[in-house]
Symmetry: D2
Subunit: 481 residues, 4 copies
């Protein structure tokens, strides 16, 4: 309603009420103004009505919603299904242009604004979460793995001779495949066992650099967020090494935004050494649907170079999701989520500890684990069958996300064979079970999980007393996910 | 409502009515049954209530909607904003697994089913639209350009020595960048002018192959859908050439599904020669939001290899959009859209012809243009300024999609300089204007466009009579989009 | 977005695009302006995006959506469920105030505006549909019957001595109960048979007036829309009679807005005689959910008096539905619906005629029937069982709305016994079947109905040839609805 | 998804996952089963996905959603606008039949089920909230006032001679008008002042009964929920009186469900004496949009008689809202809301007390006030202008719901003049201000209100020190609402 329409309304409904309504509208406009002005995540979450007002305003600025538009191109933002139009708030044109995923679309001022603002808000949150000196980022509608691939492909143009990527081992398929897909040979550096923890073998990394020659190495590809007993890579030292040898450094920070430790490591790494980009998942850190990632860094030019490598327009869906979510939560809401996560992490550790001791087990001691993986090596997991069976039992009881890690599993991915797969080590001494406290977890999740786990362990012990019957292996990976 | 609940309902509301309600429910179930059984796009569109029933049923099968699930993993499909949850019908887990975008997720049976069914329905539609022997396809939540990149990256593993991609010129940035991003050197083959049309220079292609050596060539990258006066590549001949030289052949069919001619070319090419994959945009062919593509082919193993190259899970959003759209339209609805497009294409041609003759212009004669680009070389476009001004005028008058193509523009992309950029030729004889009839276009679009165009031309003529004043160039590309 | 926010946006996205977006927004505002200015149904329907923009603007003007409101009253428009808030577009305060359903609410300028505009648009449509001199109306969230009751209760204060309402018989329960509920004694005037038609017995009406004394009569309560073979009351004559005897006249125009004949009768009645109010259903005339009615008339003071009789606020839901619907359709869309209804009426008549003659039946000749009821007296309906069975068969075959009318049924409502109930006559000569062409009907409805009816009749004939078995009576009324 | 469709799905996605999905679905079905079986409000709230599943299941049972329905009646549940269809979850047929608002509709088994279940759940909640022996109730889509009218109209048939309704004064328009609309003469019984409180004058009531004669009295119309300093009527005594004189007793319990005191009074009244029906608002007690009420009682036959008085079908919208809300909250959630209300009531009292003493005022002592009205007599409210100005100031500062009550206001409603209107008394000794703690109120509401009120009072005092300037009276009633 513009002022003219408010005036007309005063002829229908008494003016003092209309004026109050118009005044109240200004409150919403004011919030939008602050957002446009500052490009930051608002401290306090917006109401759904402000959010929907804002999105409908954005949509009105896209040509597919112009009342008098006529379209004679091949891409006019037409939508066949009204269900589809509605679920996208009629923002149809996606983000970016053929040349650059961060570019502005002439046909879609609203979608372009959405794209710019989302990137700006997300950067603000990355900074608030600990990487204070991050200078640039963008949301990309691809998984973390594919986003890493995009980073590697961008580096190719800078380092045409390189064939290798140095990668301290972490047993997760997609980050390994990210390198393969980009056409590089991953150089796997095994971790070293310190206490219960698996840590980066810095010497081995440096040895590999010298062995292969810095110019033949595309980058070091390190990892922050991971499951105990593997702990985050020694980022400061790796960053220093990269700086020293003039090798790019890409960090896989998949679910690390929610961990102040991971974020701190990146901040420190960038301060003392070199980090070219760090990549994180949208869904794992911001409680949105799967499918987006944030590529961030400290050098605007390089981040922009990556954004220009994405050929073609892209889905605005992940940007829209994270925008709605952050406007709903506000910075304070997001911080509250993070601190709740931390609290429940302690609660989970404590509960697992009690459970472990009740079953004659122990909780692995992994103090460096920045946040959320807690492990338990279980006596009744004395053979592969039992391990598999526990996984299967948990799945059936709707405990999702817990992983049972057996010993000595072998897995070949793209020609590379990993011994002791899933344990991040060729010879981790014990099988164990992982449980995480990730953003959004509730006390109920923990309580129910512990209860069910207790039942499973009891039942396994009973069986272990007898001869163990053959169990139908649910799936070879034993991974419950 | 299961049968028990229907029985209970009969105690509350008289049983004959409940039984009729239960009977009626079976009608919806029956439609779902056919879909599950046949994996084909239903002939007749579904009602919104059947579609929403189906989607809510799928969502219930995903673990994030289990009432008694407890999640202790790092990715549990939690959603912070109910606006976000709703717009995704609570399908949060995306598609695919770390290993393969087409893989099944243990945590998300419903999303997995959605993924499989969408791919199956889309394959059905590709066949119905003319590529009858297509054997496999999948939807990928990336633009056409990035999807082409994925195809090239997949081929890299088969052809490690290759450095070049042969590419008959088409002036569209993202398909060019797709090759650059993948790390290859595009070998641009200029088109030849035949009458008003620009066609593939087959001899030049073969010459290049011989010159560079087949083993050094990753693939031939051809194009079907394009703007007149460039016409679709000679696909049969290129496919034969590829077959002869044992070179892979990737076809950019961006908005070609809507054109029986483009689809026919692919079908013929695959029959007489070699086509490894053809890639098309979701938004341009199916009236859904920007952000998805279909990668299809004739060899299941190769298509699966591509799907396995995508590292990590991916957004289900484009799959969901195209699924909803095709279920809404039904095969018959989609075919009707295509035939309407054809009719309006003729109408547009006729109207442009009249307009052209009224202004002393002519419609370019481009009979091979499979479908929808019609051109007009305009006398008053006698200098760059006028050309630019026409573009600017159309933009202001909310005519979107029309492109005004000047002469002699130069553009450098990733180090490669294109002379006569936008005209697909170093020396096209005339400037011209393009207007398309794309799926979803209405008669109104045409009528209004012609009217506004007429006004613009009249006003330009008037000005041309005077000295032409300097116009503020809107953007360097002159492209109205 | 106010102008300040547009300016800020120009710093983020290039100004020419933002300016175009802002310009396009003005298009929507312009439509709203016209509505506010003229208070008429727009000629052309609005897009969903304009409608939702408008509703969200209205909602922002209600205090429950003020960002800085604090509420310490007993009714603050708080909503516990976000599903509920959303489905009402956050318009929570209903319409009216304790004193008057048409009054303005200080707490809810937006809802008040909605209420006023809806009444204004609906009045426009009533005029367009034929009652050109209607001067005032309001939407009330009650069924037609209860709305009639409200009219009678209002008249009570004008005619405190009156105990009777004169009512030409129509066999429909709720309009009869409307009088009972208001506390009056209905004086049923039987219809007379003219040809196949049942028409108002004017002499009997006048006789009753004289017999009871005008001052003891609250009003004449006549009916327009009804099922053949009863035809609309002789409204002109009744209105003249009422005028002559100074008796109020309330018209039940339940589904008559869709019939130009019914509307014409009201217009004529008001011109030559007296009509105090006419009441019509929202759902039956405007394709909205059940639950609202329009009370309209020619004397503003009386209509306002009725609106002031409703004690307390009321649901805005029916007003919202009809507002959305009329803005979606536009006046032209509504008129198109009406003309389609007429066409299908003819089609239905023709199809029934063919069917009738094929079965040796005949279509009742009821030319005065303003619109949509077509009847068929069927030989095989030779006994009550067969009649009931046909009703039952049609119900089972999902033919809804068809009524099979037996002979000689008796029904007692509130102490009054109707002989020949459902046939509007104590002794209609034949049983028959009714089928209507109501607004929104499709050709498919007719074709399918005729096909199923044909099957039923064939099967009944077959049975009639044998001894007729007992059928389980579905329900005593035989009414298929 | 029926079992057949689950089986088919197992061919597409691995069976263990599908089986788990199907198992999980059963969880939702189970909740629905309990609801159907017990007809009670579930203890724990349902998730939105269960609620929407349930509503979509109900909708599928209505004939307008049958895939093969053909409709040839005048009311087929067709909907012109998809926005409208969606917002009603495609439940279009409303509730009830022409004869009875609680009746089952053959065309709409789902809507009928919704209606029955809602009434059943609401009854459960009334019992839980304190009226344990309530035996019957129904939701009616009308405001409290109109619902009271319906009760009176029903009684008319039982007491044809009666002309009067005895009504202990409460200054609220709609309950007064409810009697007028029904055609009765309200006999206003003034309250007596006891301390600060205004209480029922029982002797005056009995005197009136004897004076008018019991048979001439339709009923006693008492009130529970009201603003201090008027307190709830002496219900036990009134009920005993009614029983003794064989006079019906209708209780206006508008916003009393949220108050255990009001509910207790009704329960006690029904135990020791006579209460025929008690009526409460949906919006004020259940945080749903305005427009519905619950008519409840202890005698099934009488409640059913009322439901049969509503002539015609009715809107399902209020039933749907309260159903969704109660399923969302669950019984435990509703009880939590009530106990929060109580807590904030104490907080509000305390804050007002502090504020009062800071300004040299006092909090009225009204211990019998069941719940939420707190009053403050303010020295600076020394004249009418100041009182009005305070009202105006609060309105402007977006404090809604606070009422400023002046002295000696006169108001005439339907011919009856109330002296001291708004204060429930002809001569209440002080002006005062009301603030309520109603269900859904937050601590923030209280804090902000107190702060703004403090500012207003300060500013008024300052002005009082000067000569008081004329203020533009906002509206004559001084009521801020």
């Amino acid at each position: 309603m513009n002022s003219e329409n408010f005036s007309l309304s005063e002829k229908i409904v008494s003016s003092s009420y209309i004026r109050q309504g118009s005044e109240a509208r200004r409150g919403h406009e004011q919030l939008i103004r602050q957002l446009l002005e500052q490009g930051k995540c608002p401290e306090h979450g917006w109401s759904e009505s402000t959010i929907e007002l804002f999105l409908s305003e954005l949509a009105l600025m896209d040509s597919n919603n112009f009342l008098s538009n006529c379209g004679v191109g091949e891409r006019e933002g037409r939508v066949a299904s009204s269900l589809v139009a509605r679920r996208h708030y009629r923002l149809i044109h996606g983000i970016g242009r053929s040349g650059d995923i961060a570019a502005i679309q002439p046909k879609a001022a609203g979608s372009s604004l959405l794209n710019k603002l989302t990137n700006s808000i997300v950067l603000d949150i990355l900074r608030l979460s600990g990487v204070r000196s991050a200078s640039s980022c963008f949301v990309v509608p691809m998984a973390t793995g594919m986003s890493l691939t995009l980073c590697f492909l961008t580096l190719r143009h800078r380092r045409p001779k390189a064939q290798f990527i140095i990668w301290p081992r972490i047993d997760q398929k997609s980050c390994f495949k990210a390198m393969i897909t980009a056409g590089y040979e991953p150089v796997v550096v095994e971790n070293v066992l310190e206490g219960d923890e698996l840590r980066t073998d810095l010497e081995a990394v440096e040895r590999k650099i010298e062995e292969l020659g810095a110019e033949n190495i595309l980058c070091v590809h390190s990892t922050t967020s991971c499951f105990a007993p593997r702990v985050p890579d020694r980022l400061e030292e790796l960053a220093t090494l990269c700086s020293k040898h003039d090798i790019p450094h890409i960090v896989n920070n998949a679910y690390g935004v929610q961990s102040s430790k991971c974020m701190h490591l990146i901040q420190q790494g960038s301060r003392v050494g070199r980090i070219d980009a760090f990549v994180q998942s949208l869904d794992k850190n911001f409680m949105v649907p799967v499918g987006g990632a944030i590529i961030a860094g400290f050098d605007d030019a390089f981040i922009q170079e990556i954004s220009k490598m994405y050929p073609g327009r892209a889905s605005a869906s992940p940007s829209l999701d994270v925008l709605i979510t952050l406007l709903t939560l506000g910075a304070s809401g997001y911080k509250r989520l993070l601190s709740e996560r931390k609290e429940i992490y302690s609660f989970l550790a404590q509960e697992l500890k009690s459970l472990a001791s009740a079953h004659g087990e122990r909780l692995l001691h992994t103090p460096i684990t920045p946040f959320h993986w807690v492990s338990l090596n279980s006596y009744c997991l004395h053979n592969d069958k039992a391990v598999t069976q526990l996984g299967s039992m948990l799945f059936t009881r709707q405990v999702s996300g817990a992983r049972v890690i057996p010993l000595g599993k072998e897995q070949t991915i793209a020609g590379h064979t990993f011994r002791g797969f899933m344990s991040h080590s060729e010879a981790y001494p014990w099988p164990y079970l992982n449980a995480a406290s990730a953003v959004g977890i509730t006390r109920d999740d923990v309580t129910v999980c512990i209860k069910r786990l207790d039942k499973c362990l009891k039942s396994l012990k009973k069986e272990a007393a007898k001869t163990i019957p053959d169990v139908l292996l649910m799936r070879s990976s034993n991974k419950i996910e």
